[in-house]
Symmetry: C2
Subunit: 231 residues, 2 copies
Amino acid sequence: MISVLLIGKGNVSTHLYDAFLKADNITVTQISSRKLENIPSADVTIIAVSDDAIATVSSKIKNSFVVHTSGACAIDELKNNNRKGVFYMLQTFSKDKEVSFKEVPFCLEAENKKDENLLTEVAKSIGEKIYTINSEQRKALHVAAVFVNNFTNHLFKIGNDICKENNVPFKILETLIDETALKIKTLSPEKAQTGPAVRNDQKTIKNHLNLLNKKQQEIYTIITKSIQNGN
Amino acid sequence: MISVLLIGKGNVSTHLYDAFLKADNITVTQISSRKLENIPSADVTIIAVSDDAIATVSSKIKNSFVVHTSGACAIDELKNNNRKGVFYMLQTFSKDKEVSFKEVPFCLEAENKKDENLLTEVAKSIGEKIYTINSEQRKALHVAAVFVNNFTNHLFKIGNDICKENNVPFKILETLIDETALKIKTLSPEKAQTGPAVRNDQKTIKNHLNLLNKKQQEIYTIITKSIQNGN
């Protein structure tokens, strides 16, 4: 049995709590990060709080092994005096949406092999996709995630705006969006690239620009250029 | 029975040919656009050739009803003397990949209701998602598709580059990419937006920019600004 203490009452912490409750080899406790006077001991203490609070919260914890769950923070942002680690799940968690942890990539970091094995065991109790990722790699992964998730969603938003302005249901684009995500599982994004930019189809590019507002044109132009330059 | 003549030997034409062969109410013939001396008659003649060839090819066809399959071209780019229409499928077709026409949105345009019904019947023989879309709407749809498909794929490419440079498997991001595409089926892209830009998390944005090369920084900055301005 591995005892896990979750600190924090947010989405990540609560989804983890629900999942660990169902795991055979884990006993789990969840406490608020505002009540750190009587901290129960645990094999692994997971602080799932906002990035800015990691230093303060961790500095108050005397438990033997403390990990955070942030993609943006290095391991040494933990200010506890004992062993440190990271238990980062690369996924967006929404309050009301159930999380399928079997699909979630767990990116683990520890200071030694034994702790890495311990975190792996904890992750395996609820998940299947387990990776060992150091702080440098995690930083890169975090910025890559911004491109493929946050920025992609913004392109969907622009697509949606264009549809709305022209009385076309955005729903028509759903299959294409699915196909775009699916394609890169078998082709590299470089090989999967299609469209007027990569074909250097100047006539279509000009027609497209004519349809867009100034802000949309700016993004269209810069991404088209980037595709053409192979950036 | 509806007779369909396909002109062109490319991906779109060949995938359509294979699908129509299996349809109960369609008889289909396929010819090359280079052999237009003896054109068989048909209820619907579908020219699936490159955008630039539509005018020339269509001008040589005497059949009663001629449609093109281009998202970028208006109906009046057809230069035949009889009835005109558009049979546009909003999907990327790859040579070796089977197409599930049940998932493909058919965007149809005709000059009158009778022809529209005829095209609908043809589309329904192989597909399920049928839309009536005029030339203006189709233009908008085409540019929206560039954002959600071509440009999104380029963001995947940048994500892949960042991963490669930092020795992280791009595969870790697959679940997140799937989730990004899935999310907008239940939430508007505006509501689905997450990340440092929309949170205005300056510290993370600065850290991210430090990790990127100049070209990546340019795209990061312009999309971050666009998210923050609600463009």
